[in-house]
Symmetry: C4
Subunit: 364 residues, 4 copies
Amino acid sequence: MTPLALRDFEAEARRRLDPAIWDYYAGGADDEVTVRANTSAYARIGLVPRVLRGAFHRQLAVDVLGHRLSMPILAAPTAFHLLAHPDGEKGSARAVAAAGSLSIISMAATTAVEEITAAGRSANPDAAFWFQLYLQPDLAYSQAVIERAEAAGCSALVVTVDSPVYGNRERDRRNGFLDLPGLLVAENTREPLPTGEWGNPRSIGFTGDLSWDHLAWLRTATSLPVVLKGITHPEDARLAVENGVAAIVVSNHGGRQLDTVPATIDLLPAIAEAVDGRVPVVLDGGIRRGTDVLKALAFGATAVALGRPIIWGLAAGGEQGVGDVLSILRTELDRAMALCGCSSVLEVSRELVRPAPEESWSRL
Amino acid sequence: MTPLALRDFEAEARRRLDPAIWDYYAGGADDEVTVRANTSAYARIGLVPRVLRGAFHRQLAVDVLGHRLSMPILAAPTAFHLLAHPDGEKGSARAVAAAGSLSIISMAATTAVEEITAAGRSANPDAAFWFQLYLQPDLAYSQAVIERAEAAGCSALVVTVDSPVYGNRERDRRNGFLDLPGLLVAENTREPLPTGEWGNPRSIGFTGDLSWDHLAWLRTATSLPVVLKGITHPEDARLAVENGVAAIVVSNHGGRQLDTVPATIDLLPAIAEAVDGRVPVVLDGGIRRGTDVLKALAFGATAVALGRPIIWGLAAGGEQGVGDVLSILRTELDRAMALCGCSSVLEVSRELVRPAPEESWSRL
Amino acid sequence: MTPLALRDFEAEARRRLDPAIWDYYAGGADDEVTVRANTSAYARIGLVPRVLRGAFHRQLAVDVLGHRLSMPILAAPTAFHLLAHPDGEKGSARAVAAAGSLSIISMAATTAVEEITAAGRSANPDAAFWFQLYLQPDLAYSQAVIERAEAAGCSALVVTVDSPVYGNRERDRRNGFLDLPGLLVAENTREPLPTGEWGNPRSIGFTGDLSWDHLAWLRTATSLPVVLKGITHPEDARLAVENGVAAIVVSNHGGRQLDTVPATIDLLPAIAEAVDGRVPVVLDGGIRRGTDVLKALAFGATAVALGRPIIWGLAAGGEQGVGDVLSILRTELDRAMALCGCSSVLEVSRELVRPAPEESWSRL
Amino acid sequence: MTPLALRDFEAEARRRLDPAIWDYYAGGADDEVTVRANTSAYARIGLVPRVLRGAFHRQLAVDVLGHRLSMPILAAPTAFHLLAHPDGEKGSARAVAAAGSLSIISMAATTAVEEITAAGRSANPDAAFWFQLYLQPDLAYSQAVIERAEAAGCSALVVTVDSPVYGNRERDRRNGFLDLPGLLVAENTREPLPTGEWGNPRSIGFTGDLSWDHLAWLRTATSLPVVLKGITHPEDARLAVENGVAAIVVSNHGGRQLDTVPATIDLLPAIAEAVDGRVPVVLDGGIRRGTDVLKALAFGATAVALGRPIIWGLAAGGEQGVGDVLSILRTELDRAMALCGCSSVLEVSRELVRPAPEESWSRL
């Protein structure tokens, strides 16, 4: 059956993948309350469309940190694409680039960043890439990784701030899935050699004392704009802006780090209020429909990032599957905008959403 | 078993209809959140009856745009009645007319409007009809359709404003149900011929740039009162009144256009407040019981319109089935009014309904 | 298995009764939303007990209209006890009287009121009885029924005000259960004969124009205190007090008349506020546990009335079963009071209940 | 399979225990609404973590009544450990002591208090113990029990105040599980003999008139600090502080005494506000995850107490199982603190929790 919706790709990916690999992608921390909340929250938020606004053509393009994207949907950093499909990160990068969107390359990619950006640019010479970094305790090594990403043409550094320690992924622990199988390695963790080549991979470590001081250090380490990923508290959003970050990603890490964090869409309004338009706000977590994207925009997001759905597309159909996922979501967003009377993403305003009762909870 | 409630007709229709046709009627957009919400919302709204008010006789009749209807229940426009039963639109029109009610004839009817109104008037010479219009990009053609409806004796034009594009009906796409089967055509989409006859049918198109300007054009095209169907936002209700519409239909298109729009009954209070009695407000979506009708009246509706239940009655028993559906609902409304101490629909007031917590959400 | 809780009697009654008879007792109007709400509401209301209050002995007795009852629990009027068990109304009356409580005798009893009161007094000479009346359109006949109840020793008239018409009991209609089977008749509907004897039974009719004028007529027809049963709206409670009623019964007729009326426990706070202690307030509907009784008292009820549980006890064990039901509930209430630090029902105060969010809805 | 979470121990315990014994531990009063609420409440409370706070090392230790505990988790008093495993109370005491935590020894222990404290101290010489007391109507006997606990080295008396009568445990009544089977006795209920030895056990009685006067008596009977266990009402918390108690335990007795008491975590905020930091507040009920502990701390608890999970660990693996339960929960709390940016339990503040809508209910 031709997949019509993102959920069809999910079902197909589940059919195709080894159960332990499926669990790696699908699972979350502890009891997976947050995993479920991220998606279920959207049905509680009503859309109240405007009519007769003549929205014949919809302008979906957005500008994010100087990049013109064809739609307010980008690819969140997700690990280990070669586990999902032989096309791996190169396949997804090509599909995302071809869609006119931006990939955030995961530090835990199973393909070298240079190959990913090259693949993406082969599909679209203007394609943009950001690099997701788990800042490592060994700062010199972190510096080398950053410089590698810069050299590969990444235009921003997305620093994950929600992971001073690793989340409790019980599915993986039960499956004994604790390491990359076979010959796969996290290519971008390779040791920098004095020769300028890359040696053996390191394990990704966590920086338990990750702090705003590290952000200061990052400024000395790179001139790239720094994006913080994993902001959920409005006070941290405020601090991030005051500390000069270029953008923030509202994320609970897909429910994989701390369980019972509210759905990101429920957290968004308070964060958007705290940021007050000073920097772009990207939301990830739970996006499955065009109406989900529209709700995120209405609550103040600049764009959303897709995590698991990219993996589903890749697992179901390689590069083409990722392309189909993006194409379906674009079509759905476009249709939702038309039905809400919005000619451009800038017209997607708060009046279109009926807040769920939970929204008031997000006023901390 | 003799059907006792509208749900019995639903079950019988499901038994009788080809699954793809059943799905066409039953389905909605995307994940059908709104389809379910429309009906489930009613159980959350409490009725708190008044007693000892001596409501021995109940006056159910209402006046809507100059028509005296025997009850505040009319037939919403639904497509393709010949798919449900050979009696088709003529059967439903006769049943609705015999019940002293009003049919809104769908532009997507499988019977010509002249035949429908004639059938209705054969059952009740005073029967009234409104014509539902998807305004077509080709205005001359739209004009011809309008004139045809006028000539057939329709007394108002019900312009659907929630469909600048077509909703994502995944059931139909999965079933491959994308066109009328067999020899059926949407009769009222036939090409006007220079001879005054009607030629081949056109596909119904959508006017992506539908706007208030089209409403202005409509005034030049017809002297019929114009009703807007598909209003869900109170601000649009306000604009509609200011732009001189004769009535509005609060509708989310039965959940078939944009998913996650709240239940119409939850949207009604804010709209009724915006309209403030200046024009009649008709609600469609989810009406299954007499108490549902009473709640809509209590929240400010002038009348409700029945969509799927008319189809169920038709599928289950042709003209007679539609008549039974209307008769059961009338009896239920009458009983509910008696039990709430209301001698007339004008006495159905806000004090009878205990707002669900969601109502406060509808204050946008 | 020895029944430990009222729910055990329910299960046993269901096992023993003919399905159509079970349905007659268990069913309600339309979709039975209210039937379910009446019981499920209690779990949403939290008890927050007080401790260290030395409530060694609990005084459960209450005074209602001059009668001293051993506990704030009385028997609601329920019809057709001989359908449930050969002990019939005499059995239940004996059990209720033996428990030191009060029976409200149903006009639809299958036993003559004189026999019921005599049976009750054989178990407890001080037993009190009220008579439930469906005021009949034929006032002379109503008068005769009232005088019969007076003569039989009933000390109050409980006029059902929620039934100007009959509710839509779909279970009964589906079962064809529309009349008393066999030789059973509603004994208290017998025609008064000029001889002073009682002739053929009449069908119970409904007074569609029942109004406050009838209440005025009742004052001329009897000197008994008049209790109104079926009050759910605080405004009607206010009117009832102003019109001199002796007490009110907050009841939605066990969900059998108008569907989607809120649970009586959710309606109680607003009614208690309207009555403001001027007359006793009895609540029926959904009482299954001692904590339910305590919550009703905390929200302002003087006592509660048991409907279906009496039938369950009767069906499961005749007179003895009714006695067991009352005894279990008394024990549960006593325990709940002890655990809440209440030495008497008068100490059961509002501070013990944590209002459910719905309570605010009841402020109409 | 290696147990990874407390729920794994629950499953294992259920597999191993005789169903009636399982029911004794798992069951609660009446319909067990409170049993379920205690655990399910946590998923409704959102955690909104702070980031970039450099919480490399987490200080989990807390001081409670002069004892330094290695973590804010202690063992609630639970009865009859020898029913769960031959290691019995000695096994659990050793495990708790080895974990650097504190056991509240149940008066209904199946092991003598002297043996329990000795066992605990064999594992950790600094181990602390409190003794849970059901104050008995016979005060002289109560005095003897208290002195025995003092002599055994207990450093506080935890008086259960929620049990003036015994809760309605229907599972036990259905199972006929009304007494300790075999040769087991509640060792600490033995009669004090003039010889200074201990005679036959007494049944634990309840003091129906338990009151603040008994608290005054306790001061004369012991110099140990007195802790009240079973406080749920903020007004009682206030009184407790004013009456000089050393600490309170917010507890609904695991749902075993009065049904429909709200979850303890929902009751906590109002109590913490009433106590206002004047004495330590311990919460028991429903703790299953490290995030649960963190939420309790954030709402104002000083520590939490574990009831059923200790039993599960004991049943599943004896002393070792209890140790594993404590170790897993410590690890989970430590991880949750790291992920919330807390370097010490003192930094776990209110801003981390998003109150559930129910919290407002707790303002009585």
